[in-house]
Symmetry: C2
Subunit: 324 residues, 2 copies
C-alpha cells in the first residue's frame, strides 16, 4: 500500500525536531523541543511524545514509518548506535524502544547520511546518483551516494568523511586524532579562530557580534561579522574553505562524483567559503575529474527531518516491494 506520510526525526545535541512529511517533501506538521539532558530514556520519551504530537491527526495506516537521524556512528545493518559523542545513546536500542510504544516501523541512521538522503530526494542534490554531501557544523560529517545508493561500507560505518587526515602535524581533533578535517572546519575550530581575531583591534566586528565579550565568541559570531562585511571574519571562513577544497581534491580523485553538496550550519551560511573550496578543488584535482559541480545545501533546518522521512519511505517501499 502506498502510504501518504512518513515521520522524520532529527535528534540533535541541542534540540529534537520531528516532522510529518508528505511523499513530495512537504512538512505538514512539525514539533520540536530541547534535547533532555537527563539520560537516554528521557531522550527516547521526548522522541515518542513529539512523534505522537505530529501524528495526532492522521491514521496509523497512512504512515509509512519513522526515520530517526542521530549524530552518532550507527551500524545500519544491526540498527545499533555504536558511538555517540554528544548524547548518552551509545548501546541504547532506540529503534526497539520507540517501536515498543508506537506501532510503526522505525529505521535509524547517522545524521550526515540523513542530510545526504534529504538533499538528494528533495534538495540541492536532487536526482544526483553520484555525489558527496559534506555537512560543516559542530562536527564535519556527511554521506556518499554511489549509483543512487547511500554508501555504508562493509559494516554500515562508512562515509565518515570528517575524519581524514589533511595535515600530518595538524590540530587535535575532537575524535582524538590529529589534523583531521573536522579539526579545521567544525564550530569549535571556527570559534577559536574568531576568539583569536577578536582579541586584536582588527577583529572588533567579530567581538561586537559576540556582544563585546571575547569568551562569548562563537562560530556564529564569525558568520555574523562576515555577513556584515568584516574582512577578518571572511578571511577565517575563506581559509576554512581552502582547507575544505584541499580535502575535496582527495574525495574527487577517489570518488569521481558529479556533484558535491556542502551543508550544515556553517556550510549553508557561507557561500564564499564554498566557492573558495570549489576553486581550490578544481585547481588541484587530477585532470578529467574537475567537472564536478559544487553546490550549497538548501534544506536548512529541515534537512534532518526530510532525510529521515525519505529513509522511512524508502524502507517502507522496499518492504512492500514498491519501486521509487
Amino acid at each position: 500500500m502506498r502510504t501518504s506520510y512518513a515521520v522524520g526525526v532529527d535528534v540533535g545535541g541541542t534540540r529534537i525536531a520531528v516532522g510529518l512529511v508528505e511523499r513530495k517533501g512537504r512538512v505538514v506538521k512539525d514539533a520540536k523541543r530541547l534535547t533532555p539532558k537527563t539520560g537516554p530514556f528521557a531522550v527516547v520519551d521526548a522522541i515518542i511524545d513529539l512523534v505522537e504530537e505530529v501524528c495526532s491527526s492522521v491514521q496509523p495506516s497512512e504512515v509509512a514509518g519513522i526515520g530517526i537521524g542521530v549524530p552518532a556512528q550507527i551500524d545500519f545493518q544491526r540498527q545499533s548506535i555504536e558511538f555517540c559523542t554528544n548524547l548518552p545513546l551509545a548501546g541504547v536500542d532506540v529503534r526497539s524502544l520507540v517501536m515498543s510504544r508506537i506501532r510503526q516501523e522505525v529505521t535509524i541512521d547517522n545524521d550526515g547520511h540523513m542530510a545526504a538522503l534529504g538533499e538528494s530526494r528533495y534538495g540541492a542534490a536532487k536526482g544526483a546518483r553520484d555525489f558527496i554531501m559534506i555537512t560543516v557544523g559542530t562536527g564535519v560529517g556527511g554521506g556518499i551516494f554511489i549509483g543512487g545508493e547511500q554508501f555504508r561500507g562493509s559494516r554500515g560505518l562508512g562515509g565518515e568523511i570528517g575524519h581524514t587526515v589533511v595535515d600530518l602535524d595538524g590540530e587535535p581533533c575532537p575524535c582524538g586524532g590529529k589534523g583531521h578535517l573536522e579539526a579545521y572546519l567544525g564550530r569549535p575550530a571556527i570559534a577559536a579562530k574568531g576568539k583569536e581575531a577578536a582579541k586584536q583591534f582588527k577583529g572588533r566586528d567579530i567581538l561586537s557580534a559576540a556582544g563585546g565579550d571575547v569568551d562569548a565568541v562563537t562560530a556564529e559570531s564569525v558568520l555574523m561579522a562576515a555577513r556584515a562585511g568584516d574582512p577578518l571574519a571572511r578571511e577565517i571562513l575563506l581559509e576554512a574553505g581552502e582547507i575544505l577544497g584541499r580535502s575535496l581534491v582527495g574525495f574527487v580523485n577517489i570518488f569521481n562524483p558529479r556533484l558535491i553538496c556542502v551543508g550544515g550550519g556553517i556550510g549553508e551560511s557561507a557561500d564564499y567559503m564554498v566557492a573558495r573550496a570549489a576553486e581550490v578543488m578544481q585547481a588541484e584535482a587530477l585532470a578529467g575529474r574537475r567537472d564536478v559541480e559544487v553546490v550549497q545545501a538548501v534544506l536548512g533546518n529541515d534537512a534532518g527531518i526530510l532525510g529521515a522521512a525519505a529513509l522511512a519511505f524508502d524502507e517502507h517501499d522496499s518492504r512492500e516491494g514498491l519501486s521509487r
Copy 2:
C-alpha cells in the same frame, strides 16, 4: 563456453609483460620486453607481438580474451585512456588497435585496479568483498572493492587513492598538487630521502647500496640497506609507513573495509613499513572500524598479468552470461 585461458598484459613504464593464464591463476606461458620509447604504435606492436607469442600453442577458442593494464587514468566505460604520464598513450585507442590485429575481446583498465583485482582473485585479498588495495611503487595507486566489485566512480575515473592531501603545506606531488600521499611514498620521495641520508656519515649503508655514488641512490638502495639492517634506511621506510598509516585513517573511516592490502615494489618489500602503517591506523581510526586487517600483497611481479587476466575472464563470463 567456458574457456581455459585468458591473456593478461601489464604495460609498465619500463617493460611490458604478458602472460597466458589459467582460470585458477597459473601463468602457463609468459613473455616480456622493454617498453619501446619510439611512440604509441611501437607500444601497441610490442603488445601484439607478445600476445601472439604466449598464445602460439593454444587455439583462439580456448582464450577468454585479453586484459590490458596501463599506468594511466582510464575511462572504463568508454575504454579510453584519458591521461598517461609515463607513456604516450593518452587518446590512443589501444583496445581497438589490438583487436584489429588479434581476434579476441580486449578490455583495458588502470594498473592499480588490475593489482586489486589480481590480489582479490588469486592473492592476499582472496575472497575479500570490501577491501582497499594500495600500490606503493613509483607512483601510489590502487583500487577499492565494494561488495565484491571494483569501485570506479561515476565516470570510471575513481579509486585514485594516491592523490589525497595528507599535508596542507606539503611536498610537491608529481601530479602538480601539494602534500599528496604519493609525494611521500613514491620511489622519487624515498630516493630523495635516501640521497639526503647518504650524504651523512650515518647513511653509509645506503651509499654503499648505491655503489658509493650519491647520485645513484634510488628507492631500491634504501630498501636494500634496510634489508641489511641499516637503521637509517629502516627509519626512512618507517616514516613512510607512518604517513601511509595516517592516510589509512581516512580511508578506513570512509570505507570501513575488512582488509587493506599493500602492494607495489616498495609495499611488497618492506613488511615493517606496512606493520607500522597498520599500527598507526589502528591507533587513530574511529572506534569500531579498527578491526581491519592490513596485509602485504603476494603476487609480486605477476600481479599485473594476473589481474588483467582475471578481468578478461570476468568480461568474457559476463558476455556469455556465466557467473563466477
